[in-house]
């Protein structure tokens, strides 16, 4: 079965951020799946392969950059939108899969436009059987 709507993964340790983003994405007719930590997300990869990853940078345990490193190691390429509370990290060497940095809090249309860009530009993989 092929999906018609893109699947968006949200990784953030803050519950209120996860909850509100899932609600916003759903209202924008996007499928969203949320994870409370990088490890949880990595563990789910064999099952889910999201079209776009919204990744928090500062988390206890695995940070956002750690997650990107792991994805690169596994050669999994997911267009990633990094969300962060401060803009200090902008200058950091970004992973090639990083589509954009968004500074918290951000506007819904900016997020949705960025997702659209990420999903549209990203090479679509074969649908998961």
């Amino acid at each position: 079965m092929s999906r018609t709507r893109p699947l968006i993964a949200v990784v953030d340790d803050e519950e209120s951020v996860r909850k509100s983003l899932r609600r916003l994405l759903s209202a924008s007719r996007l499928d969203a799946i949320t994870f409370a930590s990088g490890q949880e997300f990595l563990d789910s990869l064999p099952i889910y392969r999201p079209d776009c990853l919204i990744l928090d940078l500062q988390m206890p345990g695995l940070s956002g950059l750690d997650v990107q490193r792991h994805l690169a190691d596994r050669r999994v390429q997911v267009p990633t939108i990094i969300i962060t509370a401060d803009d200090e990290t902008r200058g950091r060497p970004a992973s090639p899969s990083t589509v954009a940095y968004l500074c918290k809090p951000f506007e819904d249309h900016v997020l949705l436009a960025t997702i659209a860009r990420a999903v549209g530009e990203a090479p679509l993989e074969a649908p998961i059987p």
Partner: protein
């Protein structure tokens, strides 16, 4: 007296005796009736007797030896054998020795022999009877054995002749030589005319009687008249001219009678020449003895009266002297002493008077008052020290513990009579008392002056209260500092004011502290409490002023208290200034700390804001959908509210630390406070990869403390702990905070890190201001934290962990709600 002058004096004495003896012998020979008969009047023995009566017994041998050459000289032309001449000298000496020795047995010698009836009686018995009577036996024996003369004739002639000479000549010689020429002159000053008249009368009558023409003598009537005249003249002399005048008068008659008898003219015409002489001698002795006694009696009466008068006048003077100093102001004492020295000196006939005081510095005698008689030579005094030699030694020196008073020497040249010494001592005591009183008054005045000056120079107001809590003394500052009807210039609460007035004066009327201060003053006075101190503000014209009231017991037997009032506005201002500076510094440090946390706080705040924005925009979309999913909209609104509250909390904590507030002690839960601070640094800890664990003690009671200040302490320790672990491996970066209750008395908070720990030299300085180990630190954090903790009655310190890293501890005293 030097040896030289003593030798001169001795030679003069010897010469005087020798000359007198020789002259007396010549006169004696002239008055001898027959060539080989003893003289009618024999002066040499009387001269020897007088010399011995005037000298002390130890020098008698000298006087007798001095007469020997004169005796030998008188006998040069005579045909007497040498042995007889020497024997007669020995009998003469024995007579003088008997007379003077016997008189001395009765304690009499010199002029004192003629002072009273008793002494004249003794003189008559010793010199007028005993000595000539006894010595005539061996004199006659010598003359009979060696000269071949009739024993009894010699004895009889010699006895009467020597007795008469002794009775008439010795008083004159002893008085004149013993009392001195001054005495004679003084006597003549008073009675010269009278004495001259009496003497001329006696000479005239005596001449008429003994030497006048025979024809006149023939008539009994004419004979009786001169005798009567003679007796009255002799009685006159005895009554008015004393023993000396009497003796001289009798002597005159004697000489005239002997001269007359030599010419064969005697009143007693009936007998032989020898019988005439004898009867004349017996007549004169018979006249001389009662007259001498009469003269002595009158002299004694006179002397007693004069002594009484002198004593009365001295006592009157002494009483006036005492009165003069009784109510004398001390500044007039010196002048009065000078005046009285003069009056006393004149009254006593002294040549000078001087007072020497012992110097308190070097204990030497310093002359302070002196008077000198006109014309006195002023040696050994007048500013000089009393050297205690010569006349100064003989003059009465009254020694008190103050110094010495010298009464000088008497201008008559006589020594001070011993009975007068106690009187002079009384005078000295009056002066000593006056000087002592003056010194005491000066000392008292000086000490009062110092006390007044000390009190007056104090800037604090001082009031001295007695046992009845009545004011006995105040200083000028007390009046100035007190609260008056018009501030600063009024309301005298001085001597006699009550304790309540004192309190109203020091504190504003109706002040809440007035009652407390009054009770405290009273309890200090009765000894119930040792001291009391109070600081309070008081409204004043230029704004509020602060005062300090202190009460201390008065350290004296009568008790009482000292209340002092000090304006401490200046000190208070400085204290408040310092406190304000401290608070501003604390605030500044707090703000700096928050600055360091800005990034993590922004992160912390962005989380709820992200949630709020996302939820709100989702809700907009949900409402725009057809049909709108209201269920979901409601859920998102609920989440918005929760997130907003979370953001509000963060801002509240932030604002609490950033705002500048007056220190305020409230009851607070230390565990909650720690939790709040931990939340504040959560983001920071996250960015530093530090985990923070808290172990609160649920038994911790509420504390009365300043919330912001304690938050600052905990925040400071937390950030320090996290910063200390920058080089620690990430997995090991952990801060452990623990609260504990210590015996219910204090709360103990410890913040333990896993850093490199603190070396001892750093530990020693870590709480000093401006000491920092950080590149960008100011070094005030721990210093301020410590002052905050200490202001809360606690302590802040650091220890090393056995497993590495450091632990900072602080305690805060628990003051439970019951103390609120």
């Amino acid at each position: 007296m030097t040896r030289h002058t003593r030798l001169l004096r001795d030679l003069a004495l010897a010469a005087a005796i020798a000359i007198a003896y020789y002259a007396g012998s010549v006169v004696g020979f002239m008055l001898t009736l027959a060539p080989m008969a003893p003289s009618v009047l024999w002066p040499p023995n009387a001269i020897l007797t007088a010399a011995l009566l005037l000298t002390p017994p130890r020098r008698w041998w000298f006087c007798l030896l001095a007469a020997l050459p004169a005796h030998l000289a008188t006998q040069l032309g005579s045909t007497r054998p040498m042995l007889l001449v020497l024997a007669l000298f020995l009998t003469n000496c024995s007579e003088a020795l008997l007379a003077a020795g016997a008189a001395r047995r009765f304690g009499l010698s010199g002029p004192a022999l003629f002072d009273s009836l008793r002494s004249v009686g003794i003189f008559i018995a010793c010199a007028g009877f005993l000595a000539p009577f006894a010595s005539s036996f061996w004199d006659a024996a010598a003359a009979a054995a060696l000269g071949g003369q009739d024993y009894w004739a010699i004895w009889q002639t010699r006895f009467f002749s020597n007795a008469l000479t002794a009775l008439t000549l010795v008083p004159v010689l002893v008085m004149v030589a013993g009392r001195g020429p001054m005495w004679v002159r003084r006597g003549l000053d008073r009675r010269a005319v009278e004495a001259g008249l009496v003497w001329l009368g006696i000479v005239a009558v005596g001449f008429a009687l003994f030497d006048g023409p025979r024809a006149v003598m023939g008539f009994i009537v004419l004979l009786a008249l001169p005798f009567a005249l003679l007796l009255s003249l002799l009685v006159w002399a005895a009554v008015r001219l004393g023993p000396v005048g009497t003796s001289l008068s009798v002597l005159t008659i004697e000489v005239l009678a002997i001269v007359g008898a030599g010419h064969g003219r005697v009143p007693f015409d009936l007998l032989s020449p020898a019988g005439n002489v004898l009867s004349l001698q017996i007549f004169l002795i018979g006249v001389a003895i009662p007259l001498l006694c009469l003269a002595a009696l009158i002299e004694e009466r006179q002397r007693t009266r004069e002594a009484l008068e002198a004593r009365l006048s001295f006592e009157e003077m002494l009483s006036r002297l005492s009165r003069a100093f009784v109510h004398l102001p001390s500044d007039e004492v010196d002048r009065t002493i000078d005046g009285w020295l003069r009056r006393l000196g004149e009254h006593l006939g002294s040549d000078h008077m001087a007072i020497y005081q012992l110097s308190p510095v070097d204990r030497t005698l310093v002359p302070t008052h002196a008077w000198m008689a006109n014309g006195s030579d002023g040696t050994a005094r007048a500013g000089g020290l009393p050297t205690l030699d010569g006349r100064l030694y003989e003059s009465p020196l009254m020694i008190t513990d103050l110094g010495v008073i010298s009464f000088g020497a008497r201008r008559t040249g006589e020594p001070w009579p011993p009975p007068m010494i106690p009187q002079l001592r009384l005078v000295a005591e009056v002066f000593a008392n006056a000087i002592t009183r003056k010194q005491a008054e000066s000392a008292l005045r000086a000490s009062e002056f110092i006390k007044a000056a000390v009190l007056g120079s104090l800037t604090s107001g001082v009031a001295v209260l007695d046992r009845q809590a009545r004011v006995v003394a105040v200083n000028e500052a007390w009046q100035r500092l007190g609260h008056g009807p018009t501030e600063g210039n009024g309301h005298e609460i001085g001597v006699g004011a009550s304790c309540a007035e004192v309190c109203a004066h020091a504190l504003a009327p109706g002040s809440a502290h007035a009652g407390e201060a009054r009770a405290a003053i009273e309890s200090v006075i009765i000894g119930a409490r040792h001291d009391f101190a109070l600081e309070y503000p008081r409204a004043a014209a230029g704004g509020e002023r602060w005062f300090s009231l202190a009460v201390l017991p008065l350290a004296r037997a009568e008790g009482g208290a000292v209340v002092s009032l000090t304006d401490i506005s200046q000190r208070k201002r400085v204290e408040l200034e310092a406190q304000r500076t401290r608070e501003e510094l604390a605030h500044f440090t707090r703000v700096s700390t928050m600055g360091e946390l800005t990034a993590s706080l922004a992160h912390e705040l962005s989380q709820p804001l992200t949630g709020i924005l996302a939820n709100a925009q989702a809700a907009q979309r949900l409402l725009a959908a057809v049909p709108p999913n209201l269920e979901e909209v409601r859920a998102s609104l609920g989440d918005i509210v929760a997130d907003d509250r979370r953001a509000g909390d963060i801002i509240r904590r932030l604002r609490e630390l950033l705002k500048k507030s007056e220190p305020r002690r409230v009851l607070l839960d230390l565990n909650a406070l720690v939790e709040d601070v931990v939340k504040l640094v959560t983001s920071d800890a996250l960015s530093r990869s530090v985990t923070i664990a808290v172990d609160p003690d649920p038994a911790l009671p509420l504390l009365r403390a300043d919330r912001v200040q304690l938050q600052q302490v905990v925040l400071n320790l937390l950030i320090n702990a996290m910063e200390a672990m920058a080089t620690t491996p990430e997995a090991a970066r952990a801060v452990f905070i623990r609260t504990q209750c210590l015996d219910g008395q204090a709360a103990h908070v410890s913040v333990k890190d896993a850093g490199p720990g603190i070396t001892d030299d750093v530990l020693a300085r870590i709480f000093e201001p401006f000491y920092t180990t950080k590149a960008d630190g100011m070094g005030m954090g721990l210093s301020i934290a410590r002052s905050i903790v200490e202001a809360h009655g606690g302590r802040l310190w650091a220890t090393g962990n056995p497993s590495g890293g450091a632990t900072f501890h602080f305690t805060v005293t628990v003051t439970g709600p019951e103390h609120a």
